[in-house]
């Protein structure tokens, strides 16, 4: 177990270094932030700002400084906000985590029961409707879904606020938007792994013993069907964070995703680096949890 954790931690460090390097390289290839901060100012003024921001040093020097700072958890000062970049990201993290967790929960709440039911009643109307909806759900871009939900629920029916993040009502539409992004895939996985499992002999044996259908499905079948579902859930979390970037922009939610989008537009290197770093950490952490869950769900999988 210790060896397992250590190996995962090493992998985590590798991921973190990789993410930082790629972010640094892409950002510095993308142009001069000073020109964006003061686009119409004379060169003399821009030179002053470049010095202030430490952008006048040669690239290797900047890179060394960046690595050194990252190792100590210091991502530098935001060019735009003039406050520590890491604090900006941390301040917005709870909003993004709440949004993604609620969406994941909602997606699960839809995918598990509907997926199981479609598998058990394969080919029946519920299954056909569910399978059709999956295709529809998967082919709608998050951006479009969000706008459509706003037009229906806020503009047409006046049920919910258009945007913002100041009441529970304002959380409903973004959560729904983001879960339409995840729910279909989860549903498909739940359905197909359930289908695989309920054909197996041990399920038939359980039924033959006279165990109630309810217990057979939930106790016996579900636990074995859960493995692929858990894997995909972990992977989906990364995608969900990506979707949150768009959802936060559409619904004017003050989360990390929107912070990063703004920072990219302004070439605010420290904020982009800190934000991407944090999101990468979360994805790595979630997948670490998934690995641990494996052992619990199926002791046959010896943790290597």
């Amino acid at each position: 177990m210790t060896a397992f954790v250590v190996r995962r931690l090493v992998r985590l460090v590798v991921v973190v270094i990789g993410v930082s390097l790629v972010t640094f390289a892409i950002l510095h290839a993308s142009g001069d932030p000073v020109a964006l901060i003061m686009p119409e100012a004379p060169e003399a003024d821009r030179a002053v700002l470049r010095r202030t921001l430490g952008l006048h040093d040669p690239l290797p020097v900047q890179f060394a400084r960046f690595v050194g700072n990252t190792l100590t958890g210091n991502f530098g000062t935001s060019f735009f906000h003039r406050t520590p970049a890491f604090a900006l990201v941390v301040e917005r993290m709870p909003t993004t985590l709440l949004l993604t967790s609620l969406s994941m929960a909602l997606a699960m709440a839809i995918a598990l029961p509907v997926g199981i039911y479609s598998a058990v009643r394969r080919g029946r109307p519920v299954d056909q409707v569910a399978t059709g909806t999956v295709f529809l759900g998967q082919s709608m871009p998050v951006f479009w879904t969000g706008i459509m939900l706003i037009l229906l629920f806020s503009v047409q029916w006046r049920l919910l606020p258009v945007s913002g993040w100041d009441s529970w009502a304002s959380i409903v539409l973004p959560t729904a938007t983001l879960s339409t992004f995840t729910a279909p895939l989860l549903l498909r996985i739940v359905r197909s792994s359930m289908l695989d499992v309920i054909r197996l002999d041990y399920v038939r044996t359980a039924r033959a013993k006279g165990v109630s259908e309810w217990l057979v499905i939930c106790r016996h079948a579900l636990k074995n069907a859960a493995l692929p579902v858990v894997t995909v859930t972990g992977l989906q979390f990364g995608l969900l964070l990506g979707g949150a970037v768009i959802t936060e922009t559409v619904f004017a939610i003050p989360g990390v995703g929107r912070l990063i989008v703004g920072a990219i537009r302004q070439l605010d290197f420290p904020v982009v680096q800190a934000g991407v770093f944090m999101l990468a950490m979360i994805v790595v952490a979630v997948n670490f949890l998934v690995d641990l869950l494996y052992g619990y769900l199926n002791p046959q999988i010896r943790i290597r």
Binding site: A29, S30, G31, D32, P33, A35, L36, I37, M38, P39, E40, A41, P42, E43, A44, D45, V48, L49, R51, T52, S78, F80, H81, R82, L106, A109, I110, L112, P113, V114, Y117, I147, I150, L151, S154, V155, R158, L159, L160, P161, V162, S163, G164, W165, D166, S167, W168, A169, V172, W214, T249, V250, F251, A252, P254, R258, L259, V261, G262, L267
Partner: protein
């Protein structure tokens, strides 16, 4: 088996419990901005979205009215004592939001805060605006003098947005708090709270010297997505949205809740020509390029008629504009003739660059029009970041031409566009790379080295004649700004793109 119903029921319950409640109280005016500036401190940013908020909280020495004329604000009168000394009389009885009276000390402090005499690294990004100011002298309690290091004709322009801030208060709370939670000015509204990237809430200031504004509460919401802004507008969640693009105007005009207000703004579009090398080193080719473009078609077909053709880059409402200089007409036949005369009877291949994603259709139409007369154009779009490097760093590499727009930093003066675009001194901007017009530098320098406005006007008239003839750029049009406004509110777009909401009134 019914357990899965629970989440669905819960969601239904949540939906039924919530009321939309987005209708605003009558005395509240809500504006949607795409983002918030990094600070509320009027000296420590250079963001349009920040200036719009600041002007409603802070006063400057001068104000610009809707006709874009100077009006007294914190200064009741001003005059130039000589080429480099300006004297301002301060308004008496003005109070800051915290109750402190405005003093000459506050005015001097505001200047020194941006100028930071003796320091090499300046905190304020607005330093460049007033760098010509050498010293601010307090003459008596109601009089100050601003002394510039050389004649600085743009001083009054710069002072229209130069917020006067409270010395005692800032020294007490510090810069950081002043920019976030404790912003205090003399303007019509005072700060209630700022939730970053959500809403800046302001409340009318009882002690404001003009009297109380018609709206008690003023809210600036940050809504990055245009489609969301429009949905908010339609449901009464916001009352004003900015920068409405031409394709959205019909929809907003048709809505029973909204109307639109457009006005020409100080942003000019042009294609800068690289005069250092063929083919645009030849005057005839540059003129041909100007004749080749059908500006009216661009304005009518691509911009919904919201644009005004210009003869050069100097715009009609900028000081120094000469109405006698006429725009190049659209004349493709003449363009071809000129091209042949210049030695390109069968045309020539060129590349034109652009980083203005918002004006891509215009850029592509221009490329097509140039190609039609024989300037066969390869149109290249760039991301802004890499484009800055290529177009304007070390040596300009936007060969043979680049589409651009220039906003003059909202300074209504010919110098604010001529110097950056066409002057070739090393400290210059675009012109130093691409423009090579004999004698032009000297004239531009002449225009900025006196405060004798009649003389400046003559100089700029002469410059406009020269650049119309030499054509260092393809001259296009000035841009319009369009606001969408709730029918409950009476307001009109301003030529300087400010939202001076003291002028906004509830409609009966």
């Amino acid at each position: 088996m019914k357990r899965w119903l629970l989440p669905v029921l819960a969601l239904g319950l949540l939906l039924s419990l919530t009321s939309a409640g987005s209708a605003q109280p009558k005395d509240t005016l809500t504006v949607a901005l795409v983002s918030h500036a990094p600070t509320l401190d009027p000296h420590m940013h250079f963001e349009r979205v920040g200036i719009l908020v600041n002007v409603n909280m802070f006063d400057s020495l001068l104000h610009r009215n809707t006709k874009l004329e100077y009006e007294p604000s914190l200064a009741t009168s001003w005059k130039a004592l000589n080429d480099t000394t300006w004297e301002f009389k301060l308004r008496k009885g003005v109070k800051f939001h915290n109750g402190d009276p405005l003093t000459a000390e506050d005015v001097k402090f505001s200047f020194d805060r941006v100028l930071e005499p003796g320091k090499e690294k300046k905190k304020s990004p607005q330093y460049g605006n007033i760098r010509a100011v050498k010293e601010v002298r307090i003459v008596d309690a109601d009089t100050i003098q601003v002394i510039t290091d050389k004649p600085f004709p743009l001083l009054l322009e710069r002072l229209v947005f130069f917020a006067i801030v409270p010395k005692k208060h800032i020294e007490k709370v510090g810069d950081e708090a002043f920019g976030t939670t404790a912003a205090v000015g003399t303007g019509p509204w005072k700060l209630v709270e700022w939730k970053r990237d959500q809403a800046i809430r302001l409340e009318a200031f009882d002690g404001h010297w003009r009297g109380k504004p018609p709206f008690k509460n003023l809210v600036f919401r940050a809504v990055p997505e245009v489609a969301t802004q429009i949905a908010e507008m339609k449901t009464g969640g916001v009352d004003i949205i900015r920068n409405v693009s031409a394709d959205l105007i019909p929809e907003l005009k048709a809505s029973p809740m909204t109307y639109v207000s457009s006005t020409p703004i100080l942003r000019v579009h042009y294609v800068e020509l690289d005069m250092r090398q063929p083919p645009f080193d030849k005057k005839l080719v540059r003129q041909a390029a100007n004749y080749a473009i059908d500006k009216q078609a661009l304005i009518q077909k691509l911009m919904g008629g919201l644009g005004q053709q210009v003869a050069t880059v100097v715009q009609p409402r900028a000081f120094g504009f000469d109405a006698e200089v006429q725009p190049f007409p659209y004349d493709p036949k003449k363009a071809k003739e000129l091209l042949a005369q210049a030695g390109f009877p069968s045309g020539v291949d060129i590349t034109v660059h652009s980083a203005s994603a918002d004006f891509r259709p215009q850029f592509e139409a221009i490329a097509q029009m140039l190609t039609e007369v024989g300037l066969r154009t390869n149109a290249r779009m760039w991301d802004p970041g890499p484009a800055w490097n290529k177009f304007f760093q070390t040596e300009g590499k936007a060969t043979h031409a680049a589409y651009g727009t220039w906003g003059n930093y909202s300074v209504f003066d010919a110098d604010a566009v001529l110097h950056p675009l066409f002057h070739t001194e090393p400290g210059g901007w675009i012109g130093k790379h691409y423009t090579r017009v004999e004698g032009l530098d000297k004239l531009i320098d002449e225009g900025r080295s006196t405060i004798d406005q009649a003389r400046r006007k003559r100089t700029y008239a002469q410059i406009q004649k020269i650049i119309r003839d030499e054509a260092p750029a393809i001259y296009l049009f000035t841009q319009y700004d369009t606001l969408a406004i709730s029918k409950k509110v009476e307001y009109a777009a301003r030529g300087d793109e400010w939202l001076w909401l003291y002028d906004a009134k509830p409609k009966k």
